[in-house]
């Protein structure tokens, strides 16, 4: 620690960054492209979490494992169906999303609804328990070794910048999903019921909205978004049963950064974390970028716990 504080080491990354910036090094453009790609996927990973929180006031610790189940589902379907990739992959992604929707709905009926009015620690404990069970089940079934969907999509080249097609596709899915969910919430009857419940649970009850049903739909949609995110990530990244932790923690940070329950917040939060991680990974020694991410997390919780886009809700 000491040499890091006293020595020039702590300044060196910034100096390097400044040198690259003033020289307009093309590496910056490449890093920015990667950051946007990563951030988009992170935003998708955080979307379900923020939705469940916004409507049900439940922090879903199983969210990371939902993603991993999505990854494995996509992998199983795409490798067993025997279709060519351009048919098999969309089917695999849809299968992962649909499966997680059903899983989310069932879990909501069985485990979340009975304790939705209970103190929040019970919700932590239940969702943590679910995540342990999912993790153990995946380990038993698929062992702990890491898997990969073998794809050779190649890269897109713009200027001197390389963009892997698979990651671009994942970000495309993310943007499409965010837009679709937004439209659903704004313009459909069920979407309005969800927003009304998020706004005021008691009021929604009085207006004749079946709040438990809205909760199940929300939890199902949140889980489906996690499944979709997992399937998209599986397109370009190897995964193992324990991959969930990283994405869970990232999703927490993004959701807190953007404001619990805020959609645009999730997108911006995802991009911020994507940039910190990619640039931090390039310029900072070791995994010091992670330290920056968590310091930001802690700091933001205190300075603005409602996040960048959050409303001044009761905390």
């Amino acid at each position: 620690m000491l040499p890091l504080v006293t020595g020039s080491q702590i300044l060196e990354p910034f100096r390097n960054f400044w040198t690259d910036l003033s020289a307009l090094d093309p590496v910056l453009l490449q890093l920015a492209a990667f950051a946007v790609l990563l951030g988009g996927v992170y935003a998708l990973a955080a979307l379900g979490l923020t939705m469940i929180f916004g409507v049900m006031d439940v922090i879903n610790f199983a969210h990371g494992m939902f993603l991993v189940v999505g990854m494995y589902t996509a992998w199983l379907v795409s490798s067993n169906l025997g279709f060519p990739d351009y048919v098999g992959l969309p089917i695999a992604i849809i299968a992962a999303t649909a499966l997680m929707f059903a899983v989310g709905w069932i879990l909501s009926v069985l485990t979340i609804e009975p304790i939705i009015e209970a103190p929040e620690e019970n919700q932590f404990i239940v969702t943590l328990g679910i995540s342990f069970i999912l993790l153990a089940a995946l380990r038993l079934r698929f062992s702990t070794q890491s898997r990969q969907i073998n794809l050779q999509f190649g890269e897109l080249q713009i200027g001197g910048t390389f963009i892997p097609w698979a990651q671009l596709a994942a970000v495309g899915i993310a943007v499409a999903a965010i837009v679709a969910v937004y439209l659903f919430l704004q313009y459909t009857k069920r979407g309005r019921a969800i927003r009304a419940t998020a706004d005021n649970r008691d009021g929604a009850w009085y207006m004749g909205i079946d709040v438990p049903r809205v909760d199940h739909l929300t939890f199902g949609l949140g889980a489906a978004l996690a499944g979709l995110a997992g399937a998209s990530i599986a397109l370009f990244s190897p995964f193992s049963p324990s991959a969930g932790d990283v994405y869970l923690v990232r999703a927490f940070i993004i959701v807190v950064l953007g404001g619990l329950g805020s959609f645009p917040g999730a997108l911006v939060g995802g991009l911020v974390i994507g940039f910190i991680e990619v640039f931090g990974g390039y310029y900072l020694p070791g995994t010091f970028g992670d330290v920056v991410v968590f310091a930001l997390f802690v700091g933001l919780l205190y300075v603005k716990p409602t996040g960048l886009f959050g409303t001044e809700a009761e905390r």
Binding site: I125, V126, I133, R139, S143, V256, G286, V291, V298, R315
Partner: protein, 356 residues
């Protein structure tokens, strides 16, 4: 209730007469700890040993102890800390580092680590309570602190980085290297068991004294209704801070003990998400805010999961299913913990005991 008394009712009457006696909790405590002290003998000389090796007992007591320390802040005040691994990890890392770098005896290291952890606890508590975090935000903030320490230690080469630190040998910090109490290292697990049992007695007495003092009254008032407590003139901030400091102080001991019991400490294991869960689980399973809850809860979870891990070792993750299922079922079916089970059964059987 029928007029004629059955033998069962006789026992139950005798028990409630005992229960009302002013020294009953002392008697129960002494009896309970005597039983715990006898457990290593029982596990060696009876078939019980098939289920409970002494190593499992040590692990069980470590988390009974840590959970008791966690309970002092989270069980008593209702502020759900999800980051006590931060103090556990500090206890492990500071004491080990002091031994490795300066040959400081681990017992002194333990006290230094405990003081540092208490100070860190007070800083975290200051920020949390100053910025009035509660509920989800409090839990997330404490969690974030533990994660921040984890990634920080992973990047500190002096502390072994991601590889961690191996437990030093007694010859590294003693002039006459001898395993034993002074070295905090033993060649067999039984002495470890009695050391952690002594820790458990200390923290349990501390928790009992706090709970039965004015401070305990105030802490529970904060749990029930903080605004009301503040409105009758209780300095809720001061009492929350005190509870946090004491809790962090004791939690660090467990970390030091852990470091000198296991071979290796790593940022992922001592600061990780799973450690947070292991710390809070016994108290939650046993019953939040109760004194016996952490110990009972630890004995519900750890022997069972260890048994599964040992007997189904090729099925990696069978023990995690126990964790997961016990978490879900306890939260759904017994939200007040295992200790509330007798009262619930009595009320289901139509007894006149009121549930508390």
């Amino acid at each position: 209730m029928s007029a004629e008394s059955t033998p069962l009712e006789g026992v139950s009457d005798a028990y409630s007469r005992f229960d009302e006696h002013r020294y009953s909790s002392l008697a129960k405590g002494v009896l309970g700890f005597a039983l715990l002290a006898a457990l290593p003998f029982l596990s060696k000389n009876t078939p019980l040993g098939g289920f409970l090796s002494v190593n499992v007992l040590v692990v069980t007591l470590v988390f009974a102890y840590t959970s008791q320390a966690w309970n002092i802040v989270s069980g008593f005040t209702g502020y759900f800390s999800f980051g006590h691994a931060a103090f556990f990890g500090l206890g492990a890392y500071i004491a080990t580092k002091l031994v490795v770098a300066y040959s400081v005896n681990p017992w002194i290291g333990l006290l230094v680590a405990a003081v540092v952890a208490a100070v860190v606890g007070l800083v975290v508590g200051y920020l949390n309570f100053r910025y009035r975090l509660s509920g989800h935000y409090f839990a997330l903030a404490t969690f974030a602190f533990a994660m921040l320490l984890q990634v920080t230690f992973r990047n500190l080469g002096e502390f072994g980085g991601a590889v961690g630190i191996y437990r030093p040998f007694p010859r590294d910090y003693m002039t006459n290297p001898e395993y034993g109490l002074v070295a905090m290292q033993f060649r067999s697990p039984e002495p470890y068991y009695y050391v952690i049992l002594a820790f458990l007695v200390i923290v349990t007495v501390a928790a009992w004294l706090i709970k039965n003092s004015q401070m305990g009254l105030y802490l529970f008032a904060i749990r029930e209704n903080e605004d009301a407590a503040a409105s009758i003139g209780i300095s809720t901030y001061r009492y929350k801070m005190a509870a946090t400091g004491i809790s962090a102080f004791f939690t660090a001991w467990a970390g030091t003990f852990w470091a000198f019991y296991l071979e290796l400490i790593r940022p992922e294991t001592v600061f990780g998400l799973f450690k947070n869960v292991q710390i809070l689980l016994p108290a939650v399973v046993g019953g939040l805010g109760t004194i016996a809850g952490s110990i009972v809860g630890a004995f519900v979870i750890f022997p069972l999961s260890e048994f599964l891990r040992l007997n189904f070792g090729d099925l990696a993750g069978a023990d995690d299913i126990v964790y997961g299922l016990s978490l879900v079922l306890i939260a759904l079916l017994l939200p007040n913990g295992v200790l509330s089970l007798p009262a619930r059964i009595r009320s289901l059987l139509g007894g006149d005991d009121d549930e508390d």
